[in-house]
């Protein structure tokens, strides 16, 4: 049996060395990013680097997860110099050259979030600890994004959020190691408001049905603030359980509430059912207060439009991106994705693809995989050619700022993917808010954690 000898001198020596390291000003460590690329969690040592794609592969959002995974595989292909290069051809930064990231071939592992916070954390942890993933990305729920973002902060890896729309992701729950390209609920409200005023006027009475969790709350707050600023009155806001499947008993009271607009702060299956039920109850044919009754779905996704079928026609909402948006990068991505998979990409696929490229580009520009180097490279980064037009990764909260699309369900779709059409593009200035905006207050970005 051996016994580790702990001497007073040994402890002092180690302590002094560690102390010197910690006391070193960041300017020195910063300069050393590229010198020796070690000293952080999962520093890649071989000829490859591993990314962790954490997407829902089972559960109700499995189809959205599948589209995200398609986008990730395409991104890996393009990073490694295979295929037609996709958005690498249109991206304003030319640091990436199709030889992987910093010359290391990109490999990936996948995890299944199941759209459950605990399962998502477990799969992310496993990819970090067992597979040596240097970065985690993906997801299609804000609850999951916030949970995984927290884990990545603790573990010392970068988290590039997938589809997450809650203000909290880059608001009160923001983390230095986490980044969001997707837009948020505040932006949806700010983008929708002018279009709502133009279409439906400024004298309206709104009734909210809201999914009872972080995303629903922040969306209700955001849309409410934006519509009340127009002069709309909020008649009632009702929280519905996330597990609800039949919304008829929540829809029925809308009929006699005096409201003339129903706002559905629902996502996925919730939205498909609540919208279907609302249409069944004839809400869209009603005339209330002398005006035609309207329904608004502030956050749209293609899968939701597919699930709700005919019922989405003419209904307004917002999206982060759409494959018909005429901006540099869109065509390259749609062609590349369409040729490989035979379908246009969804907005979830787009944000995931872009996030992967943005991460790779940041590493390339920083010359290091060190999370703190990546944070430095992404903060305040301005880019174009990724399908949305000029975009800024704001340093204060790691949120991307770009134009927001207002869309509506298409009247005459030509295919199962052609369900939404762009009504308006709200310019970025109108959706930008100060970092200390009350809806985003309360959190602290903290400092980057390189882990290890």
């Amino acid at each position: 049996m051996s016994k580790t000898k702990l001497t007073r001198r040994g402890v002092l020596k180690t302590g002094a060395a560690a102390g010197t390291g910690l006391a070193l000003p960041t300017i020195f460590t910063g300069a050393a990013w590229s010198a020796s690329d070690t000293g952080f969690t999962n520093a890649p040592t071989g000829p490859t680097v591993t990314l962790g794609f954490n997407v829902p592969q089972s559960g109700p959002y499995a189809d959205e997860g599948a589209d995200e995974l398609r986008a990730y595989m395409l991104a890996v292909e393009h990073l490694n110099g295979e295929g037609d290069g996709g958005m690498l051809n249109s991206f304003s930064s030319k640091a990436l050259n199709g030889t992987g990231i910093l010359g290391k071939k990109v490999e990936y592992v996948t995890g299944d979030t199941q759209t459950k916070s605990d399962a998502a954390r477990a799969s992310a942890r496993s990819m970090i600890e067992k597979d040596g993933a240097i970065m985690i990305t993906g997801g299609s729920s804000s609850g999951v994004a916030i949970a995984v973002q927290g884990l990545c902060q603790e573990a010392g890896v970068i988290f590039m959020a997938g589809l997450t729309h809650s203000n909290d992701t880059t608001g009160k729950d923001k983390k230095a190691n986490g980044f969001r390209h997707f837009f948020n609920a505040y932006m949806s409200g700010a983008a929708l408001a002018p279009v709502l005023a133009k279409r439906y006027g400024t004298d309206r009475k709104a009734y909210h049905l809201t999914a009872d969790y972080t995303w629903g709350w922040t969306q209700e707050e955001s849309i409410r603030a934006a519509t009340e600023a127009l002069g709309w009155e909020t008649v009632n806001t009702v929280k519905t359980p996330l597990s609800a499947t039949d919304f008829s008993s929540y829809i029925a009271p809308v009929l006699n509430s005096g409201a003339d607009v129903l706002i559905l702060n629902h996502y996925g299956g919730n939205m498909v059912n609540s919208l279907t039920n609302a249409v069944q109850f004839g809400l869209r044919d009603k005339i209330v207060n002398g005006k035609k009754f309207e329904i608004v779905v502030p956050l749209y996704s293609r899968l939701m439009a597919q699930g709700a079928g005919e019922n989405v026609k003419g209904i307004l909402g917002t999206t982060n991106w759409h494959w018909t948006l005429d901006r540099p990068g869109t065509k390259e991505f749609v062609q590349s994705f369409g040729k490989k998979y035979g379908r246009p990409p969804s907005q979830a696929a787009h944000t995931c693809y872009v996030q992967t490229l943005l991460y790779a580009d940041a590493v390339q520009r920083a010359g290091s995989f060190n999370p703190c180097a990546v944070v430095e490279a992404l903060e305040g980064f301005e880019f174009d050619g990724m399908g949305n037009g000029p975009t800024l990764y704001r340093a204060d909260d790691h949120q991307c700022f770009k134009d927001v699309l207002v869309v509506q369900g298409k009247e005459n779709p030509t295919s199962e993917f052609d369900l939404l059409e762009i009504v308006d593009i709200t310019p970025v200035e109108q959706v930008t808010y100060p970092p200390d905006h009350p809806m985003f207050a309360g959190g602290d970005l903290g400092t980057c954690n390189p882990g290890a």
Partner: protein, 343 residues
């Protein structure tokens, strides 16, 4: 007043689904003594019978339209359903439009067959095993069925609308002297309620007025004695499993226009249906039906804003609250008999 009437109507159609599933559960429990956790999955398979028929009727051949292009800039592929080219566009469209009601005919043989297969192939081997084993194996079966459906149809809900003729809603209020538009109710939900009543009536009539039903009821009361009389009660019970599966399947078929079906819709109903069975009284068919409607209506009332403002979150727990109260005051449920599951 109008709000209360609306919620009663709401409760009736919600209750219809609960009652139909609970009825099937009770039939299986009463005859075979098995607690069938796969029953929700049978409801879901029924709904996907409607989806399947819709897909079959919509099977199309592709023609290339050179004048239009798809998203990649290639000539557009236009799909025309075969039924339209066989029967002409009008009849073809009508067939697709009426796919949900037509699915009833399609679902009955599928569900009865599936019921036989499940009972003979799997559940039969678990009759002499403890209830816990039966629950595990049927729950496992439910997961397998669910994953098969997800594998084929994906996880996203699939819209299966009612025929155009039933897509609107009916103004009930005017009928009983209210303002126009005060109480309107979707046609299809009313059809669902009437359909449920017909099915429930048919099952009860079958058990009460046919010799087969009489033997089954005798078997439910005393399996051994009926067996000693030389009657092959097992075969009849197998048929009853098929009937119960068909009832769940039909409930699923007709439910599809109310909410777009997805692979886990069965699980959403399963737990509630068990509460319904327990509240109604294990093994009691009228109890299951009564409790189904009762809980459906109570659930609707609990989601009214006036009620929620007094007790927040009541809409999420009402069913379980009622179950606790009823089990405390009537431990055998509303219409439970002595001696069921009490050995």
């Amino acid at each position: 007043m109008d709000a209360i009437l609306l919620q009663i109507l709401n409760g009736l159609d919600k209750g219809s689904a609960y009652a139909l599933i609970a009825l099937g559960l009770t039939l299986i429990f009463g005859t075979l003594g098995v607690v069938n956790f796969a029953h929700g999955a049978l409801f879901m398979i029924g709904a996907f019978c409607a989806v399947t028929l819709q897909r079959l009727l919509s099977l199309s051949y592709v023609t290339i339209d050179e004048t239009r292009t798809d998203f990649l800039g290639n000539p557009l592929k236009v799909k025309t359903p075969y039924v339209e080219s066989w029967f002409g566009p009008e009849i073809g469209q009508a067939l697709i439009d009426w796919s949900v009601p037509l699915s009833i005919l399609f679902a009955i043989p599928v569900m009865v067959g599936l019921g036989f297969l499940i009972e003979r192939g799997l559940i039969k081997h678990f009759y002499k095993r403890p209830h816990a084993d039966q629950i595990l194996v049927t729950f496992g079966l439910a997961i397998v069925l669910q994953e098969i459906v997800k594998f084929i149809y994906g996880a996203n809900p699939i819209p299966t609308p009612a025929p155009e003729a039933f897509s609107g809603s009916f103004d009930f209020g005017v009928l009983i002297g209210f303002e126009p538009n005060a109480i309107i109710y979707p046609y299809w939900r009313m059809i669902y309620f009437v359909f449920a009543l017909i099915i429930i009536g048919a099952v009860f009539a079958f058990l009460r007025f046919t010799t087969f039903g009489m033997v089954v009821r005798a078997g439910m009361a005393d399996r051994e004695t009926v067996g000693l009389l030389g009657i092959n009660i097992d075969r009849r019970f197998t048929i009853m499993f098929g009937v119960a599966a068909a009832v769940a399947g039909l409930a699923g078929v007709m439910y599809t226009p109310i909410n777009s079906p997805n692979y886990h819709m069965g699980m959403d109903f399963l737990v509630l249906s068990f509460v319904v069975v327990v509240v109604g009284g294990m093994g009691s068919l009228p109890g299951a039906v009564l409790a189904g409607f009762l809980l459906g209506i109570l659930e609707s009332f609990a989601s009214m804003n006036e009620v929620k403002s007094i007790v927040p979150g009541i809409d999420q727990i009402i069913i379980y609250l009622v179950a606790i109260v009823i089990l405390l005051t009537r431990p055998r449920g509303l219409m439970g008999r002595k001696g069921v599951m009490e050995e």
